[in-house]
Every structure is written in C-alpha cells, then in structure tokens.
C-alpha cells in the first residue's frame, strides 16, 4: 500500500512537472517575443544616436540616455559594436562620460563579484570603455581564474597603453594554454616597447620555468633588440628553450645567429636540429650549406625534411645539392630529395610558412 501511494505521489508530481514544463515553453516564447518587440526600437534608437553623434550632428547626451534605457548586457553589446567604428578621441569622450552613469558604475562595481558572468560583463565593458582609473580593476580581471573573463579583460590592451597592464598580461602569458598564449601575444604586440624591455630582463633569468614560453613569445616578436638574448639561449640546458632559440634566430640574418645555429644543427634533440635547419634555410648563408646537406642524412625524417626544404631556399647551390643527393648513395637522403624536388611551388610556400 505504501509503494502504491508512493507511485501515486510520483505520478502526480510528474504530471505537475510536465504541465509546468509545457507552460514554461509557452511563456518563454511569449516573453521573448514581448521583450524583443520592446527592446528593438530602443536598440535602433541607440544606433541612430550613435551615428548622429559620430558624425557630430548630435550631442553625447543622447547616446548616454539611449544606452541607459537598454538592459546592461545589450548596452555593452552596443558599445562593443560601435567601439570599432568611432574614432579614438571621440570614443575616449564617451568612455569618460560613461564613468558618471549609474549603470556603468554598477558594472564597474561587479569587477570583484563572486559570479563569473558578472565579472565577464565588467571585463567586456572595460575592454572598450576603460579609463586610466580602471587599471587596478583590469589588472585584477587579467588575473581572473575564469578564462572567459581574463580573455575579455586582456582585450583592453587594444585601447589602453599602460605598463602595469602590459606587465600583468605578460606575467600571465607563460601559464596559459597555447591558443590563449597566441591570443595574448597578439594583444601584447601593440605595446611593443614595454614588452621588449621587460623581456630583455626576463630572458636573462635562466632558471625561470616560464623561459620556454617567453622565448617563444620573443621569437614571435622578431625584435632585433632581443637577438642577443635569444642567441645566448642557444646554450641553454633545456631543449625546449633551444628549440625556441633556433626558431627565433632564423629571423635575424646575423653572424652570431649563424654561429649559434651551426651548433644547434648538430644538437642532441631532433626538434632543435629540425628548427635549426629551417632557420639556416631562412638565413640562406652559403657557408652553412655543407651542414644543411649533412642534415639530409639525419636519422629523423622530420630533420631530413626540414633540411631538404631549407636547401630549396638556397637557390641554385641548394637545388644542386638536392640533385646530388637524389642520385647519391644514402637512401634516406635520396628519398627525401626526390620528394622535395617533386613538390610544386605552392606546397613549398606552404611548408615555408
């Protein structure tokens, strides 16, 4: 009897839930329709006032009123959308003016909220409307544990040139996954002088566990001021650092670079040898041709491939070396030379990229 009663209760609860879910679906549709019919005119009004203000045909107050009539997420969406279209000076006026609006104050206050989506809202807002007084907030947001928040916050570097912010992002960079690192690197490139100065100091710390990532970033910068430090890293005990050094040195056709790469092409780690071969191809100094030719007989397929592709960049001497290898005694060198000589220009260009 008890089980029977239990099942009846469950059935009633289920029936109630089913009804509630159906009602929820219908109400959700109705609410969305009503909301969009109410908000669309306001959104259009903001767009219109933004257009007029950008053209100098209307005062900023109209834009501020329009934004304040929108729900906060939509107001931020509108700001993000228009931030790319409005010239810098005018946009700074708007950012300054927004500091005094009630809703922007509320958004700023959420920078230390316990809820990540509130902090994300703040980060998105500040990425387009931050003023110098927001640096402390942005620094906190760049250190945020939620990836969406710090990725949004670092976008503020596009508009704000601030050493503190740049250094905060640079300190965070080595801890990030490769894709996010690449994104951070793209943002940091905008503050090149500060970054280069900081990197010159950091690359001297040979015990720094973040060194491989910082070296990778330094290689991406291709900054001549960093060449000396990157050349010094060619002797680093960590093969990962040497790989980054070998990769970076290809961008610097300098005597020291060639000397370092001559050592790296006979390194114990195959990844270092492959990168060194590639970089020597980029520099294309004829004096290293025998070394690259020797790499055609390397034990590792990837090193042989990199060496053969590098030889193609030495123009006639390199091509001749490959033709020699194609009929030479070493079977590995013969195979790789045949393959690379048969590649069309498009494929060679793709490999060079």
């Amino acid at each position: 009897m008890k089980a029977h009663t239990f099942l009846i209760v469950v059935a009633i609860v289920q029936g109630f839930l089913l009804g509630a879910l159906m009602a929820l679906i219908v109400l959700n549709r109705w609410f969305r329709l009503r909301r969009s019919s109410r908000l669309n005119p306001r959104r259009e009004a903001v767009d219109a006032s933004m257009r007029r203000w950008t053209a100098g045909a209307a005062p900023l107050a109209g834009v501020l009123v329009g934004l304040s009539r929108l729900p906060v997420p939509l107001a931020i969406d509108a700001l993000v959308k228009w931030s790319a279209r409005v010239p810098g000076e005018r946009w700074r006026q708007l950012a300054e003016a927004l500091e005094h609006t009630w809703w922007a104050r509320l958004v700023r206050a959420n920078s230390s909220s316990a809820r990540w989506w509130k902090r994300l809202e703040t980060a998105r807002f500040l990425s387009v409307a931050a003023t110098p007084r927001d640096v402390a907030r942005l620094t906190t947001l760049i250190d945020d544990p939620h990836p969406a928040v710090h990725v949004a916050a670092v976008a503020s570097l596009e508009r704000m040139e601030n050493t503190r912010l740049t250094l905060a992002a640079l300190d965070r960079l080595p801890q990030l996954a490769p894709t996010v690192q690449a994104y951070y690197a793209a943002m940091l490139l905008r503050s090149r002088p500060v970054v280069v100065e900081h990197l010159q100091k950091r690359l001297r710390r040979s015990e720094d566990p973040a060194l491989p990532r910082l070296a990778e970033f330094a290689a991406r910068l291709g900054e001549p001021a960093l060449r000396e430090r990157l050349t010094a890293l060619a002797d680093h005990p960590d093969p990962e650092v040497r790989v980054q050094s070998a990769r970076a040195l290809g961008s610097f056709p300098h005597r020291d670079s060639v000397t370092a790469l001559k050592h790296l092409i006979v390194d114990d780690a195959w990844a270092v040898r492959a990168q060194a071969a590639r970089s020597l191809g980029m520099i294309a100094d004829v004096s290293v041709l025998p070394l690259v030719k020797a790499a055609l007989r390397d034990d590792v397929w990837w090193v042989r491939l990199r060496a053969a592709l590098a030889l193609m960049r030495f123009a006639a001497p390199g091509r001749n070396a490959l033709l020699e290898a194609e009929v030479g005694a070493d079977p590995s060198a013969r195979t790789i030379a045949q393959m690379v000589l048969g590649l069309p220009a498009q494929a060679l260009a793709e490999f060079a990229a």
Partner: protein, 711 residues
C-alpha cells in the same frame, strides 16, 4: 507456483531498484545540464568572444572527409566545407577506393593535380594510390587509396594532415558556417582539451541551399520527427550533464574535433570496430588516464552539424542495432576499465553507466514487460500497481524528452516556428508509445547478433546461437523443475522412402525433467538425413503448469548446417482445461529458413472418454511467398490393455515445405497408425507406420520406432 511467485517477486524488485537508480542518475544529469547550458549559452552569445575567436590565435584545423561512392554529393559537400568561416584550415578528402566516379568528379570540380607524398605513414593503412592538390583551392588535399573502410580512410587522412587538430566529417553531413569557430571555443578558454564534440541535428524536412541549412524545420513524419527529439535529448541533456561529471564517453564521429597527437598515440581509428567514434573515445580516455595526462573532453552545444536520419523502420532498425552492437563490443573490449579507480570518473561512473544503464537497459525493459505480463496472467501482480508503475516509467521518459525541448527553447531555439515547437512536444509525448518499444527490440537484436558473432568478438567469434543460448535456456528451464524432479530419457529413429528423392532418416534423443507440479524442461537433438544431406537440429523447451487448468509451453531450436532445415525454430503453446476432460489451446511456431520465415498458427482441441482420446489440430501457415496454407488432423487413441495403446491419425490440407531452395506449398494427405507399449520399470516402446501422399512432390512412406525410460 511458489517458485514462479518468488521469481516474479525477485525480478520485480531487481527491476524496481534498477529503475530507481537509473532514473535518479538521469535526474542528476538533468539537474547538471541546467548550469552547463546556461554557461554555454552565455559564452555562445557573447559577441565580444566571437570577435576574439576570429583572431589569428586560433589553432589551425584539418578537416577529414572520407568518401566512398559519394558521386552524387561529393562536389557540393566539399565546396560547402571549403567555404567554412575559419581562418586557417585544410581539407583532406579520402577517396576510399570508390567504385563510382567520385575521384573523377573531384578531379574536374577542383582541378586536381598529382603530387608526391610528403608525410610519413604513422598509422598503417591500405595502400595509397595517389595524392592530389587543387589548383583552384589551395586548402584542399585529395587522397586516393584502396578500399579499407571509413576508419581506414580517416587514418590515412590523419597521416596526411598537417595541423594539430583534426575533425572527422561525413561527406553527407552539413556543417554550419560558424561551427568550426564555435567548436574551438574551449581551446580559447585555455583548458587542456583532448577532444571537443558538437551537436548533431536532424536535417530531414529542413530547407537546404548550397550545402547549408537555411530553414530548420521539424519533420511532419513520425520517425524523423521523434528522432529530432531523441537527438535533442541525447545532445542537450545527456552530454551536457556528463560535461559536469567529467566523463563524456561519446564524441560524435560525424562532428568531433580531436587533438591529433593523442589520436596518433592511440593508433588512430580501429578498423575492426563497429562504432568507431565510441571505440576511439574510450581508447583516448584509457590512454590519457594511463599516462596521467590532464585533459577534458567537453561537449559544447552551439556548433551544429546537420545530418539526414533514417525515415524507414528497416534502415532505422539496422542503424540502432549497429549502434548497440558497437556499444556492447566497446563495453566488452574495455571491460577492464569498469569500476577501475585507475580510470577515475570514467571507470567508476561513465563506464558503469553505459554498461548497465545503456547497454543492459533493453534487456531489463523487456524483462519488466514480460514479468509484468506473466504476473498479470497469474494474478501475482496488482493490476492497478502495475499500470501505475508503467505510467510513471513512461511519464518519466516523457519528462526527460520534454526537458530536452525546454533546454532547446531557452537556449538556441533553432526551430523558430510555433508549429515546429508543437510538433516537437507531440513527438516527445508519442515517443514512449511504440517507438521506444521498437528501439528496445532493435537493441535486443544487437545482443542476438553479438551471440551470433556478427563482427564483434574478434578472436572470441562464436557461431550460431546454439551454445551460449542453449546453456542459458537450459539453466532457466531446469532451475525450477530440478527441485522436485522426474527425469526421462527417450530416443527415436525413423526411415521414410521418398518418391523421386533420396530416402529420409532421423535419429534423435531427448532428456526431460518434470516436477511434481507438472512444470518441466527438456533438451533434444535430432540427426536428420534429407535429400542426401545431413543436419543436426537441437531443441530446448519448457512447460509451465502454473494452475491446474493451464499449460504454457515454449521451445527453441537451432540447426548446425541449415541447408534443408530451418536455421532456428521457435514454438509457443498455451493450453487450458476448458471443461472436464476437454482442453483447448493455441500454438504458434516460427521456422526461420534461409529464404525467410514460415509462421504457423495451430489451434487445437483435445478430449477424452474412459478408453478413447481424441485430438483435433489445425495449422494455418504463412510462408515467405505470402501464401497462406491450411491443414487439419485428427488423432484417435485407444487403450486396448492396461499396458498397450493404439492410435490412428488422419490429416490433410496444404503445408509449407522447404524444397529445392524455396518454400513450396504442398498438398498432403497423411495416414499414421501406431502402437505404444508400457513395459516394466518405466520403459515405453512405440512403433508408428506412416503413409503420406504429397503433391506435386515428396510422397513418402515409412516406419518410426522409439523408446522412453524414466530415471
């Protein structure tokens, strides 16, 4: 009777506990899917984030497209893939030894030219014939190789891919233009991603233009319509819930992004697996856990690929049977991960859920239906309770389906029209009535296929459903009767001279156990000689005598070499004492020949007087040629002494026979006379003489002898 009551009560309790545990787990998934979809929706709608995702930071991707005989769609599919919104990707199309002109079409459409191979063969595949690049589309690489199946093609494409992330796409799957961008969102969120899965939706009835779904609609037809809800439930509710539990075990093969280094580390796709995506994901989990690599395999709902689902029961049943066979195979293959703490949540949560909650669900559901039916017949189950239980179970299923519709509505709302919404709700409600039972049946068939050894067990391949099923049925049939048994052994032999053919011979034996209550079971084997060939037919059966007025009989049989005999036979009979000394019943028999089944319905009536007994039996058979045959027989038996009984049988009509490779309808007239002698110490001897006139073939006459001994 008490044994049956105990069996029913025990099974009922087991099913109830199973039902409660499984549904509680579904409730947990349901609850966990709420914050997950909320978070995913926020991130998906974040326009700022979308902008960031279009930066150069995104990792390059290789799209793998296996193609076999895809001449009709290959140009449109590849063109659509080549116009996806993503900065850096390449497309590797593999022509898997197509017999049609798939390669020629690719060659003309994309101006292909041959290039040498520029990569090592890391994963072994079937030999490569040639490699092509396109003059018009620099992103495109085409591999032409010998046929080796989808998994082999994907492995060849992985070998050829240049980029660190790969996504396998079916040539007939339509990917939304921004789906790749969205699929890479977890990489931008910075976690250690091993693979990411996106949503697959049903494309039937949608408007498709230039390889893109431009208007999403819910099909008006029942089967694809129900599958719309089914897919929503599987993706939006099941997999999102698993995200929070950290154990997504399925990344759809039609739309999943994988880190190439891990794919290569596990040896790529397994060419012998039935459902290659499930197999791959389980192996990836096993490898990553064993190597102690930090990783996640999230599912994200907003990247969408559209696929056509089956619209006919036949195709759908094949698909579902194959999926379930793949699940059984994977669970068997990786059983060492089950409840193994070394594999963390995968071993302790995901694998047990898929093994017991998904793989065994159809078995438990069928057992539930059968036990409830048997219980109702014998009055052992409270009718209102049973109905209430079924109502609650189905109501829960409906609740889950409607929950999936709710998740869709509050998040992505791909189906904008009200009539589509109402259709989804309708199909969510109808799913439990008929469709769900069909899927249970299809998935049960997967178990039968597994026992038959259909492409599952590898080295453990088994032939026929004989041994394991006979053992299981034997245990089932003999469990109850053995408690208070009477055992009998019988043997028989017959010889018949057949006009226009070789003679027929039979040699058989049977072991029967019967309880004091009349319940019993038997196993029998017969060696048959027909048309110059020999076969062995094994049978197993049971009779239940639950009330003094009712007998239920079931028998199953299988043939070793079914050249002239059925591959397997099934027989059920229910007989009841309808009046003093009068019983009536209905039998059903299915004989599955290689050319198709013969179904026979057999109503019968028996009566007896002090010295005589009469049996009247009809058979209505339906054979694969859709012909219905009718035959009838009367048997009269009379005791002429206290040890001896004689009997006469007369029969006539049309019967279905397997002759000359097909089922034929033969007109027969039969006469049989026999004598049965009960000797001392429980031994019985019998002798029958028969003459059968059959038209147009198989007229025969013969003699049969038998002996039976009680133990």
């Amino acid at each position: 009777m008490s044994v049956l009551t105990n069996i029913i009560a025990g099974t009922d309790l087991t099913i109830l506990v199973y039902f409660l545990v499984l549904n509680s787990f579904y409730a947990v998934l349901l609850i966990l899917s709420i914050p997950e979809i909320w978070e995913q929706t926020r991130l998906a709608e974040d326009e700022d984030f979308q902008r960031l995702m279009q930066s150069d930071a995104l990792p390059p991707i290789t799209i793998l497209v296996p193609a076999y005989n895809e001449r009709a769609t290959i140009e449109a599919s590849v063109t659509a893939i080549l116009t996806l919104e993503y900065r850096n990707y390449e497309v590797v199309v593999v022509n898997d030894g197509s017999k049609d002109d798939t390669l020629e079409r690719l060659r003309h459409a994309f101006d292909l030219y041959e290039v040498p191979r520029i990569y090592p063969e890391t994963i072994a595949t079937m030999p490569l014939r040639a490699l092509y690049r396109s003059r018009s589309r620099s992103r495109l690489l085409v591999l032409d190789k010998e046929n080796g199946g989808k998994a082999d093609s994907l492995n060849a494409a992985i070998n050829a891919s240049r980029f660190p992330l790969v996504i396998a796409v079916d040539a007939d799957t339509l990917i939304e233009p921004d789906a790749l961008l969205r699929l890479t969102r977890p990489f931008l969120l910075g976690r250690e991603i091993a693979a990411v899965g996106g949503t697959v939706r049903v494309a039937n009835n949608c408007t498709v233009k230039d390889g893109r779904v431009i208007d999403a609609r819910v099909s008006r037809k029942l089967l694809p319509g129900i599958q719309v809800v089914e897919y929503l439930r599987a993706f939006l509710f099941g997999r999102l819930g698993w995200n929070r539990l950290g154990g997504n075990l399925i990344i759809s093969g039609a739309f999943g992004l994988f880190r190439k280094e891990y794919l290569m580390a596990v040896g790529g796709y397994r060419t012998t697996s039935i459902v290659e995506d499930l197999d791959l994901v389980v192996r990836l989990h096993r490898y990553l856990r064993a190597q102690k690599i930090d990783y996640v395999m999230p599912f994200i709902p907003d990247p969408v690929a559209w696929t056509e689902v089956p619209e006919s029961m036949k195709v759908l049943s094949r698909q579902r049977e194959r999926w379930h066979r793949g699940l059984i195979a994977a669970m068997w293959q990786y059983k060492s991960m089950l409840f193994n703490p070394r594999y963390g949540r995968i071993g302790l949560l995901a694998m047990p859920f898929y093994a017991f909650g998904e793989m065994l669900a159809p078995v438990v559901e069928l057992a539930g239906y059968l036990i409830t039916a048997v219980g109702l017949v014998f009055g052992m189950v409270n009718v209102s309770f049973a109905l209430l239980f079924v109502l609650v179970a189905w109501g829960y299923g409906m609740l889950l389906s409607i929950w999936a519709v709710v998740l869709e509505e509050v998040s992505f709302r791909r189906y904008r029209r009200f009539d589509d919404l109402f259709r989804m709700l309708l199909f969510a409600s109808l799913e439990n009535f008929g469709y769900r039972q069909c899927t249970v049946w299809w998935r049960l068939k997967a178990f039968v296929s597994v026992f038959k050894g259909v492409h599952v067990w590898g080295d453990m391949a088994r032939k026929g459903f004989g041994k394991p099923s006979v053992a299981a049925l034997l245990a089932l049939c003999l469990a109850a009767p053995c408690l208070g048994q009477n055992a009998r052994l019988s043997a028989w032999s017959s010889y018949e001279s057949v006009s226009g053919s070789q003679d027929w011979s039979t040699l058989g034996g049977q072991f029967t156990v019967t309880s004091a209550h009349g319940n019993g079971g038997w196993i029998a084997a017969e060696m048959l000689g027909r048309f110059g060939k020999t076969d062995v037919h094994e049978r197993i059966g049971a009779v239940l005598h639950p009330t003094p007025r009712l007998w239920l009989t079931a028998e199953a049989g299988t043939s070793k070499h079914p050249v002239f005999s059925p591959k397997n036979t099934w027989e059920l009979d229910a007989s009841a004492l309808v009046a003093p000394r009068v019983s009536a019943g209905l039998g059903y028999r299915r004989w599955n020949y290689v050319v198709g089944p013969v179904d026979v319905w057999m109503p019968h009536l028996e009566t007896e007087t002090a010295k005589m007994s009469w049996a009247l039996r009809f058979s209505v058979s339906r054979n694969p040629t859709h012909r219905t045959d009718l035959a009838g027989s009367v048997r009269a038996s009379r005791a002429i002494s206290h040890r001896t009984t004689i009997s006469v049988l007369g029969a006539g009509g049309r019967e279905s026979y397997f002759v000359g490779g097909s089922i034929q309808s033969l007109k027969t007239l039969t006469g049989v006379a026999g004598v049965r002698y009960n000797a001392a110490r429980g031994t019985t001897l019998r002798l029958d003489v028969s003459a059968i006139h059959s038209s147009p073939v198989l007229s025969r006459g013969g003699v049969a002898i038998g002996v039976e001994r009680g133990l």
